[in-house]
């Protein structure tokens, strides 16, 4: 219960009841001092109910303060802590240790890397600017012409439902950075930008579908999609990303939304 471990950062906090020791293997890279990336390994105590984010905090707070990652809300709605956990894109605050533990009490190793396809700034923290640039390029805002009504625009519940799925996007980049096309061709808009275009193209209040479809018909647009479904698997919000991309493709083919 009160066993403590001596670490690089002084005394460790008490190990709680029910804790198991896990090995966390993290891809590290600080261009300020490192020539190339390396793996660092940490054996730490953790509870099965811990989120992977708790493990990263433990390392940063009690073992190695230079470990760098983004996080904020810690419950899957701000989209800060997208990373590759055991080879798949996840939010560190939405993965619980109990779902990663090896069967039969065997030792558990968790591998954590930065999301792929964006330049690594430091450790797990990547340059999000290319991602947001693609988002901004699809005109991700309501476009309307003519006079505004005095009250709200009327929209039926069914019309509202039409684009509900894609309104859930938190711009975490899990989808875009799981896409093999995006890894090799960074100029591709990527799934997240298309999801956000979809959110407006299929909004009955919007009058900018044609402008957006023109943009997505471009060489770096929807036709790059190879329908591998990585994006749908990666989405922490459960958005049917591949389906949304297909709907945009269909809108382009048949010229209707």
């Amino acid at each position: 219960m009160t066993a403590t471990v001596e670490g690089a950062r002084g005394t460790q906090p008490p190990v709680p009841d029910g804790a198991v020791t896990v090995t966390v293997k993290i891809r590290r890279f600080n261009p300020e001092v490192d020539d190339e990336p390396r793996w660092d390994t940490f054996d730490i105590p953790a509870l099965p109910s811990d989120r992977v984010l708790n493990l990263l905090h433990y390392i940063k707070w009690y073992v190695d303060g230079t470990l760098t990652f983004r996080r904020s809300c810690a419950h899957g709605i701000c989209g800060s802590d997208a990373m590759r956990i055991n080879g798949v894109n996840r939010l560190a605050c939405k993965v619980l240790l109990k779902d990663l533990l090896s069967a039969g009490g065997k030792p558990t190793t968790i591998t954590i890397e930065p999301i792929k396809g964006l330049p690594v700034n430091k450790d797990l923290l990547v340059d999000m600017e290319p991602f947001f640039e693609a988002f901004r390029a699809v005109k991700p805002y309501l476009i309307t012409y003519g006079n505004e009504p005095t009250r709200e625009r009327i929209q039926s519940a069914a019309d509202r439902e039409r684009f509900d799925d894609t309104t859930k996007c938190i711009l975490c980049a899990c989808c875009t950075t799981s896409c093999p096309v995006y890894w090799t061709e960074g100029s591709y808009f990527g799934p997240a930008a298309i999801v956000n275009a979809h959110r407006f193209i299929f909004d009955s209040r919007d009058e900018g579908a044609e402008e957006r479809l023109d943009i997505l018909n471009d060489i770096d647009g929807v036709w790059r999609c190879r329908t591998t479904f990585n994006c749908t698997d990666a989405c922490p919000r459960g958005i049917q990303v591949t389906k949304a991309i297909q709907e945009v493709k269909r809108a382009l083919l048949f010229k209707r939304v």
Binding site: P31, R70, A157, D159
Partner: protein, 583 residues
């Protein structure tokens, strides 16, 4: 050091900051400096709704909304401000809809509305459907919609620029705000932004508590900066505990669940809110529900192996209502507690949620330097500000409303001020204080660990300054916080680099947390009464004779250990006389 010059600088890119930016950016040259990427802000965590008397589904009017807000705030609300907020709420919602916000719709296609705590028909007769919502993702939709509109208007963002100081230039008429100083996280470089007006929209400081719905990044930076400048903070003892945090974790479950009909039960299955608020029961304001829950647990009626939580029962709502109107909280319960709300009740307990107090402003968002005078060029809006529309207890949904109404007002006022005035010279060496602060944190001057001090701070605040307080617990908290401040002078960080030094960032944030925790506790000790979110077991009644007034806290001196001076400011009354608060 890099130098920039703008008309308006907005600090923070949550709801209030971006709402301000949309107004300011169309009128004047505006920069938004933000510690986080805009879409990471905690506005996105708000769930249940935003109230406005649209009367789309039943009779309602903004005067009822005003009254509910004032009564909900236990009469410490400035009534002129509450009236403005309730009146402008209607346009605030309609503006968001026109910007594209995907509200849930009624069968006629209008914005749908649902019930929320403390919002009533005709001055308390029954709960009213006033909260406009988008499932349980209203905050997410607001944050996304505002960011989308910032993109549309080409608002200039400086992402991951951590503002650590503002520039005040002394003039014959007192201090004038002339800019802000930021630390660029990517490079460690200091940037000075000269500006004619500066708007704080930096959010709350929930991280002084352990169990909180707040993000890791909510460390009260803006309030802390203002306080260190010798400017006042208002009503900091009033901190809201949201009744329904996931037990043990603090993750928010919206009051909208009870708005849709969910019921709080104790271990024996009793709907205990019937005893505490016979008329509106589970939809009583948050302070009342949180205290009732705490009492149930204290008196041995809590649920679970340790009898330390109560249960939020949604099972009678049915899978369809949960999946369509409350999908996110359903998922949170499944993910984090492995509890499925469709079939079993969810363990909940109050979680530190919202600061009613903050940087005092008038209804234009102008920051006060004392009870009468403003600091020209300095504005604040949202949770970091205290207008005061929330008084001693904020009603659910009124924070999303506050950020839209007063974010807009502050943005307009800041831009208009900038257009009407010339730049005032910056004070001498504007970056010196921040450079020294950063150098000090990076220097070797002790072995105290940031995480240890933060953990102990959060533990004492949870134990001694939360839902119920007494002279003894508060004295303990004050003692602990002061001892931690003393230890903070000896912290060391491991990361000494310039590139994305989040080790340094956390150390600086902890300094603000310590400062604000002390203010909260000093205020709570001095307020020997119970009102709204401030409940003193040793002074269980409201005392209008001595305490119907706002607290104003001033830092005396510049070091961390400096004393706090407490003053008071009268409450503004218009048409509502204080009454006993029953529901």
């Amino acid at each position: 050091m890099q130098f920039h010059k703008y008309d308006v600088v907005i600090i923070g890119a949550g709801g209030a900051g971006m709402r301000a930016a949309i107004e300011s950016g169309q009128r004047a040259r505006t920069a938004v400096l933000t510690k986080l990427y805009p879409t990471r802000s905690h506005t996105g965590a708000a769930q249940g709704g935003m109230c406005a008397a649209l009367a789309n589904v039943e009779e309602d009017n903004w005067e009822w909304h005003t009254f509910d807000t004032i009564k909900g705030g236990d009469y410490l609300v400035d009534q002129d401000a509450a009236e403005i907020m309730a009146k402008e709420a209607i346009d605030a919602v309609l503006d968001l809809e026109k910007m594209g916000l995907p509200f849930n719709r009624t069968p006629e296609g209008k914005i749908d509305q649902r019930r929320f705590g403390g919002h009533t028909r005709n001055h308390g007769e029954a709960a009213v459907r006033r909260a406009c919502y988008a499932a349980d993702r209203t905050g997410h939709m607001i944050l996304q919609t505002l960011y989308q509109n910032c993109v549309k208007h080409g608002i200039e963002f400086f992402n991951e620029f951590y503002v650590l100081d503002i520039c005040l230039t002394e003039t014959e008429d007192g201090p004038v705000c002339t800019g802000a100083v930021a630390y660029e996280l990517a490079t460690g470089e200091i940037h000075v932004f000269q500006a004619k007006s500066v708007v704080f929209a930096t959010g709350g400081f929930g991280k002084v508590f352990k169990t909180t719905s707040n993000a890791h990044t909510l460390t009260g930076d803006g309030m802390g900066i203002v306080f260190r400048k010798g400017l006042p903070l208002e009503d900091m003892e009033f901190y809201q505990f949201h009744p329904t945090g996931l037990a043990g974790l603090g993750i928010l479950l919206t009051e909208g669940a009870r708005g849709e009909g969910a019921i709080l039960r104790n271990a024996s299955g009793e709907r205990f809110m019937e005893r505490y608020a016979p008329t509106i029961k589970d939809l009583a304001p948050r302070d009342i529900v949180a205290r009732s829950m705490a009492l149930e647990v204290l008196e041995g009626r809590g649920a679970g192996p340790n009898k330390d939580y109560v249960l939020l029962d949604c099972t009678h709502l049915g899978a369809e209502v949960l999946e369509t109107k409350l999908p996110d909280i359903t998922e949170f319960a499944r993910t984090y507690l492995a509890v499925d709300p469709v079939v079993e009740p969810v363990p909940v307990y109050p979680t530190a949620h919202y600061a009613m107090g903050g940087i005092p402003t008038n209804v234009h968002g102008e920051v006060l330097r004392d009870n009468e005078n403003v600091v020209p060029g300095l504005y604040a809006a949202g949770e970091c500000a205290c207008v005061s529309v929330h008084g001693a207890n904020r009603l659910g949904t009124n924070s999303l409303l506050d950020i839209n109404v007063f974010g807009r007002r502050a943005g307009i006022a800041a831009a208009e001020y900038a257009l009407a005035h010339e730049h005032v010279d910056l004070p001498e060496s504007p970056a010196a204080a921040v450079e020294a602060q950063v150098a000090l944190v990076l220097s070797e001057h002790g072995h105290e660990r940031v995480a240890d001090i933060r953990t102990e701070l959060q533990a004492t605040m949870d134990a001694n300054a939360s839902v119920y307080r007494t002279e003894d617990t508060l004295k303990q908290a004050l003692h602990d916080v002061q001892a931690l401040k003393e230890r903070y002078a000896r912290i060391s960080v491991q990361d000494k680099g310039k590139r994305f030094n989040t080790d340094l960032l956390e150390a600086v944030e902890l300094g603000f947390l310590l400062e604000l925790a002390e203010v909260l506790v000093v205020g709570a000790l001095a307020r020997k009464e119970s009102r709204g979110g401030h409940a003193r077991e040793d002074y269980p009644n409201r005392d209008d004779t001595n305490f119907m007034r706002h607290s104003m806290f001033y830092k005396q001196g510049t070091d961390l250990a400096a004393d706090i001076r407490l003053d008071y400011k009268p409450v503004t009354f218009t048409r509502y006389k204080p009454m006993e608060r029953k529901y």
